[in-house]
């Protein structure tokens, strides 16, 4: 057996982030390739049941780094803890989530080890002296085949690129408490406070997103989209053209530099389908494009389309839903 495949657990004040399970799923494949066990590493206290959950996804050993200073997330202090663990365990490879936090922590680890790091991989193939990998560029609209030369490759897994799948048989988990020297100075970049939104549904988690583009025409034009979204328990999103015109806040922007969405249904209304928008929307299960232009990119890429003016089509859909519900 080789040294373990080490997965860095992403959690928020103890709550496991689902992207971790995507990383665990890829880690099991890599463990086969390396003939190595999967082990996980959590920095800071995790909620009860987390280690069992990691076991369901094949984590045999869960390393826990706890300290009274590790009360919350901090990119530098987390990276420093992970670095120390990587130095002492010398794993075959280290995998983290391709999220804001995962990429940030792993870049910090890479900086400390002065080692290469590949973000947002969708495939990793171990070879002599490193890994060959496929990673996403332009938010997913291009793939890069790359070679990473390192004794301990550092990679993150593109979020939403694979379905998290539990191991065929859950692993009995052993926890190990690792001694790590906490560098108090690095608390300098820890989270100091939070503003929690009150509304429950967010763009990233909504089951239905009604997106509007340039074709909506104005800020007021979003009214019917809001109505359809609320009828279906969803939220409104928009393209970059809309944000640039000041019609909606950037928080609603779907795309490479906005939010990546993965709803059951995405309505793309008056959206031409520039690649930067598409990469934010492509994880949607069903896409319905509504556009006057039957040749728009969005129409070609969507599973379904209605050719017509969104200003009449969208209210007609809302009306039909309400009619059927009686």
């Amino acid at each position: 057996m080789s040294a373990p495949v080490l997965v860095v657990v992403e959690h928020d004040r103890g709550d496991l982030m689902p992207a971790t399970l995507e990383a665990m799923t890829i880690a099991r494949d890599l463990a086969l390739a390396y003939d190595a066990p999967v082990e996980a590493l959590a920095v800071g206290d995790v909620a009860a049941g987390t280690t069992d959950r990691l076991g369901e996804f094949g984590g045999g050993v869960v390393h826990l780094v706890t300290d009274e200073l590790l009360t919350d997330y901090g990119p530098e202090i987390w990276a420093d803890c992970v670095t120390q663990v990587v130095r002492s365990l010398a794993p075959s490879i280290v995998i983290a989530t391709g999220t804001d936090r995962g990429n940030e922590v792993m870049a910090g680890v890479a900086a400390r080890l002065d080692a290469p790091f590949a973000a947002n991989c969708i495939e990793v193939r171990p070879t002599e002296g490193g890994v060959d990998l496929t990673r996403v560029r332009w938010g997913g609209s291009l793939l890069e085949q790359a070679r990473l030369d390192a004794e301990i490759p550092l990679v993150t897994i593109a979020h939403h690129s694979i379905e998290p799948v539990p191991a065929p048989t859950p692993t009995a988990v052993v926890t190990s408490a690792l001694p790590v020297e906490i560098d108090q100075a690095l608390t300098r970049s820890m989270v100091t406070g939070r503003v929690e939104r009150t509304a429950g549904i967010t763009l990233a988690t909504a089951p239905v997103v009604v997106g509007g583009g340039r074709g909506v025409g104005s800020a007021d034009g979003f009214g019917p989209l809001e109505a359809l979204a609320s009828t279906l328990g969803g939220v409104v999103g928009c393209s970059r053209a809309v944000t640039n015109n000041g019609w909606r806040n950037h928080a609603d922007q779907v795309g490479q530099t906005g939010t990546r969405i993965a709803p059951d249904v995405y309505f793309a209304c008056g959206i031409s389908g520039a690649i930067q928008h598409w990469v934010g929307a492509m994880a949607s299960k069903h896409i319905i494009a509504i556009n006057t232009d039957g040749d728009a990119n969005m129409v070609h890429r969507a599973g379904y389309a209605v050719i017509g003016d969104l200003h009449v089509v969208v209210p007609a859909i809302t009306e039909e839903i309400l009619r059927r519900r009686g």
Binding site: D12, Y73, P75, E104, M106, A107, A110, A111, D114, A115, P116, F117, A119, W138, L142, E144, Q145, A146, R147, D149, T156, R188, S189, V191, T192, R194, V195, T202, L232, T243, N249, H250, A251, Q253, Q256, T257, D264, V265, G273, A274, I275, Q276, H286, I288, A289, V299, R301, A302, G303, Y304, A305, V306, I307, G308, V312, V313, P315, A316, I317, E320
Partner: protein
Amino acid sequence: MRVLVCVKRVPAPGARINITADGQAVDTAHLAFTTSPHEECAVESAAQLVEEHGGEATVLTLGPAASEEQLRYAASVGIQRCVLASVSEEWDPQRTATGIVSVIGELEATDGPFDLILFGNESADAGGFQVGIRVAHALDRPIVNGAKGLTVEEGHARIERATDAGLETYALTLPAVIGIKEGINLPRYPTMRGRLASKKADVVTVEVDAAAGGLRKVMLERPPERESSTVILGHGPEAAAAVVDLLDEIGAL
């Protein structure tokens, strides 16, 4: 205060990105170039900070000589100094970070330390998610990425960062490094006066070299196209019934 903002020249792609025949780069024959979007916002942040607090903002890019275009653009929207670290090929992230650290060292040796160094959260094209973090570590300055809000007062930078649940806040003591995310502001358009002034702006070119890192691009490729098999549900408002049938079928009602 002294602010440095680091930017990258990237292709401004349309709806489709084509690759050169050798698979080494995006085919830019018919594309314009732009500043990577997060960095465009970082430039705006830098301009706002010196307007509010006084001082001077410098823009730095490590890239081809043609990146002068992006530096002059930054000059047209409120950045005072332009520095071009000219390289002939695209550098890997480790090498880029090392190069930027050495240029920052030179700039700070002559003119004093920067209070803030701003990066974009990640570049639009390569998306390496690491150059700013490597630079901050090399300089032993605190860094937070993904800033959607930034205010500076009394030697501290207060940062807001979006999460699924709302916002997180961070407070960094200056000097610090911050990765800016699009949405933090709406970048201004250059005024005619700004445009004219930027033509005369002094672009300082510096030599830079650094050893290659361990991540090497082999080739670029387009992801397999989903077959275009769009089901047309209908035309105009009469299609509503078919749409709602579909919503019913997939359990979205």
